[in-house]
C-alpha cells in the first residue's frame, strides 16, 4: 500500500518539476522514490502487515507484494535505461509523470479486491500508455500506434465493463471474495448470462496481454512506439496484466473453471502457433519481439489455465514475469542503442560482435533467456510453467508449446547470427551511455543468476 502511495505521489512531484525548476534533479528523485517504494514494499512483506483500511477494495497481500516487487524492480531498471532518450526532451517532465501514473495503475492491478479497482487500475495504466505510444508526434508510425492502441483499448474496456455488469447482475457484488462465495453457494444454478460475463471479461483481459486472436494491435503498436515505451509495455504492463488475470480468475472465477478453461486453452494454442510462425518471417526487430511477447503471454496464460490454488502456480508466474521482464529490459535497451539511426531491421545488428563486444554479449544472454535455453532464467521460467501444467489434462498443449518454442529459437538466433557472422557495413563502434551500460550488465548478470539459483525466487511463497 505504501508503495502505491509513494509512486502516485512521485507522479505528482514529477509534474511540479516544471514549475519549481528542478528538472535536473527529477531523474535521481524518481529513482530514489522507486527505491523507497521498493523498500516499503519489502518491509510490508516481512512484517506481514497490510493497511486494512481499504481491505474491501485493495489489499496488498503477499501475492500482490511479490508482483509489485517485480514491477518496481523492472521500473527501476527501465528508468535508468530510458533516461538517455528522455534527457534532452522539452517534455521530459510530462513523460516521467505519465510513466509514474501508469506504474500506479500497474501496482493497483496486482492488489485489487473489487471490480471497481480492477477497472480503474486498467484505465490508469492504459491511458498514459496511449499517449506515450503516440509521443513521437512527427512520426506517422507512432501516431498510428497511439491511435490504434486507444481505439482498440477502449473497445476492450467496453467488453470489460459489459462483463462486469453481467457478473454483477448474477452475483450482486463487485467483491471478488463475495463472488467466489456466491459461486460455491449456487453451484451450477448460476444464470447463463453470468458465464457470458466471465467470457467477456476474459476477452478484455486477453486483449490487454495481446493473446491471439486479440493480438492484431500488438505488432503495430510495438513497432510504432518509441523503443523505450515498447520496453515499458512489454515488461511492466505485461506483468501487471498477468497478476490481474491470475487474481481475477483464481480468486473470483476459480470455482467455475470448466466454463472458461476450454476458451483459454484454445487461445493459448492459437497464440503459440500464430506468434511463433509470424515472428519467424519478420524483418523488423521490434515487430519480432512483439510477436515473441505474444508467445510469452501464451506461456504465462498456461499457469492461469492450470488453475491450481497452490504456491507452485504463484511461483511459476512470478518467476516467469521476472525472467521475461529482466530479459526484455536488456534486449530493448540494446535495440534502442543499435537502432538509433532509424534502421530497425535485423541488418542493423550486423557485426555488432566486433563493433561493441560487451553489448553483443549481453544481447546473446537476453536472447538465450527469451528463447529458453538452459542456464538462463528463461529456461527455468518455462520449466516451472511445464511442471504446473503436467498434472492437468492439457498435455497436448504442453507438446504444442515445446514444438513452437523450437520455432522460437530460430528467430532469436537470427539476431545472434547477425551479430557474429555477418559483415557490418560500417566498422564504426556503437556507443552506449555509462548508465545504460550498467543496466545492461546488471540485467544480464541477474538473468544468469536467476538461472543459476532458480530456487531463490521460485520458492518465495511458502506460507
Amino acid at each position: 500500500m505504501k508503495g502505491l502511495l509513494i509512486v502516485s505521489g512521485l507522479g505528482i512531484l514529477a509534474m511540479m518539476a516544471e514549475i519549481f525548476k528542478f528538472k535536473k534533479l527529477l531523474f535521481p528523485l524518481v529513482l530514489l522514490g522507486i527505491l523507497g517504494a521498493y523498500v516499503a514494499n519489502f518491509m510490508e512483506w516481512n512484517s506481514g502487515f497490510s493497511i486494512a483500511v481499504f481491505d474491501n477494495m485493495i489489499a496488498f497481500d503477499k501475492v500482490a507484494l511479490a508482483f509489485s516487487g517485480v514491477i518496481l524492480a523492472t521500473a527501476f531498471f527501465w528508468f535508468i535505461m530510458a533516461n538517455d532518450y528522455f534527457e534532452d526532451m522539452p517534455t521530459v517532465v510530462d513523460h516521467f509523470s505519465l510513466v509514474l501514473f501508469a506504474l500506479t495503475g500497474a501496482l493497483m492491478l496486482t492488489a485489487f479486491k473489487n471490480m471497481t479497482t480492477l477497472f480503474l487500475g486498467i484505465e490508469i495504466m492504459s491511458i498514459p500508455l496511449y499517449v506515450l505510444a503516440a509521443s513521437k508526434k512527427k512520426d506517422v508510425k507512432s501516431n498510428e500506434a497511439g491511435f490504434k492502441y486507444l481505439i482498440m483499448g477502449s473497445f476492450a474496456s467496453g467488453f470489460l465493463l459489459f462483463g462486469i455488469a453481467l457478473v454483477y447482475g448474477a452475483t450482486g457484488s463487485f467483491d471478488l471474495m463475495e463472488i467466489r462465495a456466491k459461486i460455491s453457494e449456487m453451484g451450477s444454478g448460476m444464470p447463463s448470462f453470468f458465464y457470458a460475463g466471465i467470457i467477456m471479461m476474459l476477452i478484455a483481459m486477453l486483449f490487454k496481454v495481446s493473446a491471439a486472436p486479440f493480438h492484431f494491435w500488438a505488432p503495430d503498436v510495438y513497432q510504432g512506439s518509441p523503443t523505450v515505451i515498447t520496453a515499458l509495455m512489454s515488461t511492466v504492463v505485461k506483468t501487471a496484466a498477468f497478476a490481474a488475470i491470475l487474481r481475477l480468475f483464481m480468486i473470483a472465477f476459480g470455482g467455475v473453471s470448466e466454463s472458461w478453461s476450454m476458451v483459454l486453452a484454445s487461445v493459448i494454442a492459437l497464440s503459440l502457433v500464430i506468434a511463433n510462425f509470424s515472428a519467424a518471417v519478420q524483418t523488423n526487430v521490434k515487430r519480432t519481439l512483439a510477436f515473441s511477447s505474444i508467445s510469452h503471454a501464451a506461456f504465462m496464460l498456461m499457469v492461469v489455465l492450470a488453475n491450481l490454488r497452490s504456491n507452485a502456480t504463484l511461483d511459476a508466474l512470478l518467476y516467469y514475469s521476472l525472467a521475461y521482464s529482466i530479459g526484455s529490459i536488456a534486449a530493448f535497451g540494446i535495440i534502442y542503442n543499435v537502432t538509433k539511426n532509424g534502421d530497425e531491421t535485423f541488418d542493423s545488428f550486423n557485426g555488432l560482435g566486433k563493433r561493441n563486444p560487451l553489448m553483443a554479449a549481453c544481447m546473446v544472454v537476453a536472447m538465450l533467456s527469451l528463447a529458453g535455453i538452459p542456464i538462463t532464467a528463461g529456461f527455468f521460467a518455462k520449466y516451472f510453467v511445464f511442471t504446473t501444467m503436467i498434472g492437468t489434462g492439457y498435455k497436448w498443449l504442453l507438446i504444442l508449446a515445446i514444438l513452437t518454442s523450437a520455432v522460437g529459437v530460430y528467430y532469436y538466433f537470427k539476431v545472434i547470427i547477425a551479430m557474429y557472422f555477418k559483415q557490418a557495413t560500417t566498422e564504426e563502434p556503437v556507443t552506449i551511455e555509462l548508465s545504460q551500460k550498467v543496466v545492461m550488465i546488471l540485467t544480464t548478470l541477474f538473468t544468469l543468476a536467476l538461472g543459476a539459483v532458480p530456487g531463490f525466487v521460485a520458492e518465495m511463497f511458502k506460507f
Binding site: T91, I127, V131, K137
Partner: protein, 172 residues
C-alpha cells in the same frame, strides 16, 4: 391498461425508443444526425435510471453525456468538417464480417439472457441508493479508495492531453 402497470408501459416505450435511436445512430449517413440521435438515446437511458429510482444518476447522465460530451462530439465533427461525402466507403467484405461478428454477439447475449426472466427480480442493497445523500454516503465510505484513485486517472488524462498538444521547440 392491458394488464401492465404504468411502470412497465414506460419501460417498454423507453426501451423501444432507446433501441430505435441507437439503430438510427448507426444507420444515418450524416455524422451530425448520428450525434443528435445519440443524444436522444441518452435521454431514453436517463429515463430508465429514473424508473430505477436513481434520480441523481439520471441528472448527471443528461448533464454530462447529453450535454457536455455531445457538444464535444459536435465540435469535433464541425472542426473536421465531416459530412456524408467524407464518410469512407466500406467494402462489402468488411460489412459482412462486421455483421456476422455483431450478429454472433447478439446471439450470445439473447441466448444467455433467455432464461433470466424466470429468475425473478432480486433487490440488492438499499432501494433508496439513488438519492444523493445515500449515494454520497456509499461513495465516501465503501468506495472511498476508488473515488480518490480516480483523481490519478483524471490527472493522467490531463497531463497526456497537454503533452500531445504542447508545441515543441522548432514547431511553428
Amino acid at each position: 391498461m392491458l394488464g401492465y402497470t404504468i411502470t412497465q408501459w414506460l419501460f417498454g416505450i423507453l426501451s423501444f425508443l432507446a433501441i430505435m435511436f441507437g439503430l438510427m445512430v448507426v444507420f444515418s449517413r450524416n455524422p451530425v444526425n448520428s450525434v443528435l440521435y445519440l443524444v436522444m438515446t441518452f435521454f431514453c437511458i436517463a429515463g430508465h435510471y429514473l424508473l430505477l429510482n436513481a434520480q441523481f444518476l439520471a441528472i448527471v447522465h443528461i448533464v454530462v453525456y447529453a450535454g457536455a460530451i455531445m457538444v464535444l462530439f459536435l465540435f469535433v465533427i464541425m472542426l473536421m468538417n465531416l459530412n456524408e461525402d467524407t464518410e469512407p466507403q466500406r467494402t462489402w467484405l468488411s460489412k459482412i464480417i462486421a455483421a456476422v461478428a455483431g450478429g454472433l454477439m447478439l446471439f450470445v447475449m439473447v441466448g444467455s439472457l433467455k432464461g433470466a426472466g424466470d429468475m425473478g427480480l432480486q433487490q440488492y442493497g438499499n432501494a433508496q441508493i439513488g438519492f444523493v445523500k445515500n449515494l454520497g454516503a456509499v461513495l465516501f465510505k465503501d468506495f472511498l479508495f476508488p473515488f480518490e484513485i480516480a483523481s490519478v486517472l483524471l490527472l493522467a488524462a490531463m497531463v497526456g492531453a497537454i503533452m500531445i498538444g504542447k508545441k515543441e521547440a522548432g514547431e511553428s
